[in-house]
């Protein structure tokens, strides 16, 4: 138990990054199929990251710029550490017994804030606009997300992720089916979380170059891409834990996370991008109303 515990603590960030990056590769491939083409190899994103790690030069704009990717990845790994990856007898719990859902909700922001600060120091107005848009949109999708989370916490009268997982002991008890409104609200929020179209106002290439990361290159971008893969994994696992009752083994974990990965992907393929205020008001309309319906279901 002890050695495997330590081993998983060391391994999990790498597993997360690899899984996240591979999903992105598969995602690119699926997008390519919809677009009538072959698409890149599945491991293209991993190759990209390797390439970025092998870049010989990198420029920095200052301390915060230098630290930002490090801090971001710190935030993501820390989040991962407080997340139950697998449950059951062969579970991988890491430090998840030492935190709860509120901690997860807040520590997830750590990395984003660090990225925002680094982007800020890059001095590029496009980065600043990207951050401004991202934070604004965050307030948008946080509304349905928070409603869904609070619904879950009140429904099970706990803030511990473990208890929420335990309550979904069988297929029919999954929160997906048990509290469908909260699930739908959270799903909308998830679209915003993942930053896929139509909610990719942050990087919006045709508008603000590539937004916050536009000054990052070489090793910094490598760390950021790793972080991106890992963060996607973290978000997926969190949703699986909350709405699909966690996973008992890696196969089911991969299947469930991939299901969640596909949803924003397919929405993104066929939709253009919202303008920022449209995205915010979108989140404040139907997803919030659906979330509040979920509330009523729990309260009544």
């Amino acid at each position: 138990m002890d050695t495997s515990f330590n081993l998983w603590i060391l391994l999990m960030p790498f597993v997360g990054a690899l899984v996240g990056l591979t999903y992105m590769g598969i995602g690119r491939r699926i997008i390519a199929r919809v677009q009538h083409r072959y698409g890149p190899p599945i491991f293209q994103n991993i190759v990209d990251v390797l390439k970025l790690y092998s870049k010989k030069t990198a420029i920095t704009h200052g301390v915060m710029f230098h630290l930002a990717p490090t801090l971001a990845i710190t935030g993501t790994i820390s989040t991962l550490m407080f997340l139950p990856i697998l449950t059951g007898p062969h579970g991988i719990y890491l430090f998840s017994f030492k935190g709860d859902l509120i901690l997860l909700m807040y520590i997830m922001v750590f990395g984003c804030l660090a990225m925002a600060l680094g982007a800020g120091q890059s001095g590029n107005p496009n980065s600043a606009i990207g951050v401004s848009r991202g934070l604004s949109q965050m307030v948008g999708y946080e509304a349905p997300f928070v409603i869904a989370m609070v619904t879950l916490m009140v429904q099970f009268n706990t803030t511990s992720v473990h208890d929420i997982i335990k309550a979904q002991d069988s297929f029919v008890h999954w929160n997906m089916f048990q509290s469908p409104f909260a699930f739908i609200a959270a799903l909308f929020a998830f679209l915003g979380f993942m930053g896929n179209k139509p909610f990719d106002v942050v990087i919006a290439p045709a508008e603000i170059a590539s937004g916050p990361p536009s000054e990052f290159g070489g090793k910094y971008l490598a760390l950021m891409q790793t972080n991106r893969g890992m963060f996607a994994f973290v978000k997926l696992v969190l949703y699986v834990d909350l709405f699909m009752g966690g996973a008992a083994n890696f196969v089911s974990l991969l299947a469930k996370t991939f299901f969640f990965y596909l949803i924003p992907l397919f929405v993104g393929i066929v939709n253009p991008r919202f303008r920022t205020e449209q995205a915010i008001t979108f989140f404040w309309k139907w997803p919030t109303v659906i979330g509040l319906l979920g509330f009523l279901m729990v309260i009544l």
Partner: protein, 180 residues
């Protein structure tokens, strides 16, 4: 001995990764830019080879000079090139980058791209077909694999020479001087 081995393995991986992930800067400098969309989209699908467009020079690996360069553009291209991170590659695209092409007597376009930037590979034609472009990329991959695509080193080593050429054409040189 052991260190050398590690270094060698690292180099092989790095070369392999660089080869299979070429991020092209989205910069249509000339009329050749019209053949880039077909190259990148469903018919020719350059993404199969890991070739993707990138928005900013900090992230890009390949600078594709799509055709003639007006002097005004040359200035921007030089700045853009210098903002890219090494290793970086320059592809001259179309006859006009080689010898002026159609515009051999135009007062506003440069005639030889390699006087101003270290070109790793030229693709000839006016304009090259998407197949030609992809072929060019594959040749570039071969060069990267064999370690010959080191135009960026050449640029660093012969900066003086390039600068002289650049300043000869660009009359008002108002750019910050870089050190690598």
């Amino acid at each position: 001995m052991k260190e050398d081995w590690g270094k060698e393995a690292g180099n092989i991986i790095a070369r392999w990764a660089r080869k299979h992930s070429l991020w092209v800067l989205a910069y249509g400098t000339g009329c050749g830019a019209i053949e880039i969309p077909p190259t990148m989209t469903s018919r020719y699908d350059a993404e199969r080879f890991g070739i993707t467009g990138m928005a900013t020079p900090r992230q890009a690996d390949v600078l594709l000079i799509t055709g003639y360069l007006a002097v005004k553009t040359l200035k921007r291209v030089i700045r853009t090139y210098e903002q890219m991170q090494s290793p970086k590659y320059v592809m001259g695209f179309g006859s006009c980058t080689i010898n002026g092409g159609m515009y051999w007597d135009s007062y506003n376009t440069i005639k030889r791209l390699d006087d101003y930037l270290p070109v790793d590979i030229f693709i000839n034609g006016c304009m090259p077909r998407p197949e030609g472009v992809i072929d060019g990329f594959i040749e570039l991959q071969k060069l990267i694999d064999s370690g010959q695509a080191n135009g960026w080193k050449k640029y660093q080593d012969n900066l003086e020479w390039y600068r002289t050429n650049q300043k000869k054409v660009i009359k008002n040189w108002k750019m910050p001087d870089y050190n690598w």
